[in-house]
Amino acid sequence: MQTDSTELRLRNLMLASLDGDAAAYRTLLAELGTHLRPYFTRRLTPAFAAQAEDLVQETLLAIHTRRMTYDRTRPLTAWLHAVAHHKFVDHVRRQSIRLTVPLDDDAPFFAHDDNADALARRDLSVVLDTMPARTGDLIRRTRIDGVSVAEAAAAHGMSETAAKVSIHRGLRSLVARFGGGEK
């Protein structure tokens, strides 16, 4: 709660400001800045505390452009609090919108099953581990991670042709073991 003396002083500054006293206005805005900064910092989670300064500025700007809506017969602190609260809620709302995925990125709901993927991935890694380490790794890199044959070959210090032969042989042996016979 604001003390009465704060209310009285700020209100006198505001009334002078509304009558066009620029010096009083500057004092008022500067003092409001020092009140608003901790107000917003307290309300923002630590990760977003850096945005407190933006909010202070937005609020000061709103106080400036909307100063007509202050009723001179009513407490100034209540009005200020309402403006700051409005700016805070507005900020949080916009923030939460920004944190969501854009709609056009929204793939069809059943297009992708993480669970099935995980199961397949685990089976695959078990199988690849039974192969010679280099062949298994080449297959993993080129067929699962999507790296080019040249890059995978370079990682093992072998020529591209040798890598291709190794991958080809490895895949053929896998088909022979798990292919389930003639199709």
């Binding site: 206005y25 007509m68 809506t69 609090h81 403006v83």
Partner: protein, 212 residues
């Protein structure tokens, strides 16, 4: 950064006149009401018996009900256009007026003959009356929305609704000079419907336009 902003804002300071909000809103309503009245005269024309109508109670009932709703809507708009604004009495008074009107309508219907009933409830214009009120209210709604954009409503939707009731009341008031219906139930149903449509329109516009 913030110091810079404070310097810029205090250099930009212009005095604000007392009751600046009231002046701005009243100016917008009066100006647009003239447009609404002009539109009523050129589009619909005043009722044929406009010279003698002010002798009847019903003329003043329509006049008073619509004007009262316009003023109540204006009072609500002024309160709700502030960041710390809340208000209830205009809504309550408006509903009380409607209730009073309905009581009068039932009394009027009770003393009417069977042939008069449809005339008092539906008249000849029940289907066009709400829409004519909406059309005549549009200039007022537009002007008040423009004024409201400079205010700071805590709840833009509700402030828009209040502005819509004010605009609807003003439009209906302009329409009452063109409307020859004499049923209180007609007034309670179709005028109120038209005003509420404008109120809903104002709520939608408020939500879209009055964010700050």
């Amino acid at each position: 950064m913030t110091d810079e902003l404070i310097a810029r804002l205090s250099a930009d300071l212009k005095p604000v006149r007392p009751r600046a909000m009231q002046r701005l809103l009243l100016g917008a309503v009066l100006l647009s009401a003239i447009i609404a009245i002009t539109a009523m005269i050129t589009w619909l024309g005043p009722r044929a018996d406009i010279a003698t109508a002010p002798m009847t109670m019903m003329f003043w009932t329509k006049f008073g009900y619509t004007l009262a709703l316009s003023i109540l809507g204006g009072a609500a708009t002024l309160a709700l256009a502030r960041p710390d604004g809340v208000t209830r009495w205009p809504w309550r008074t408006g509903l009380a007026l409607l209730a009073l009107l309905l009581v009068g309508a039932v009394i009027q219907l009770a003393s009417a003959s069977a042939e008069e009933m449809p005339v008092l409830i539906l008249g000849g214009t029940a289907l066009v009356c709400p829409w004519r009120i909406v059309v005549l209210s549009l200039p007022v709604l537009l002007a008040t929305m423009l004024a409201l954009r400079r205010f700071a409503p805590a709840n833009p939707t509700l402030a828009g609704f209040a502005a819509g009731i004010m605009a609807g009341g003003t439009g209906a008031w302009a329409y009452s000079f063109a409307c020859g219906e004499n049923g209180m139930m007609f007034l309670a149903l179709w005028y109120t419907l038209g005003i509420l449509i404008v109120g809903a329109l104002g709520a939608v516009l408020g939500r879209l336009l009055l964010r700050w």
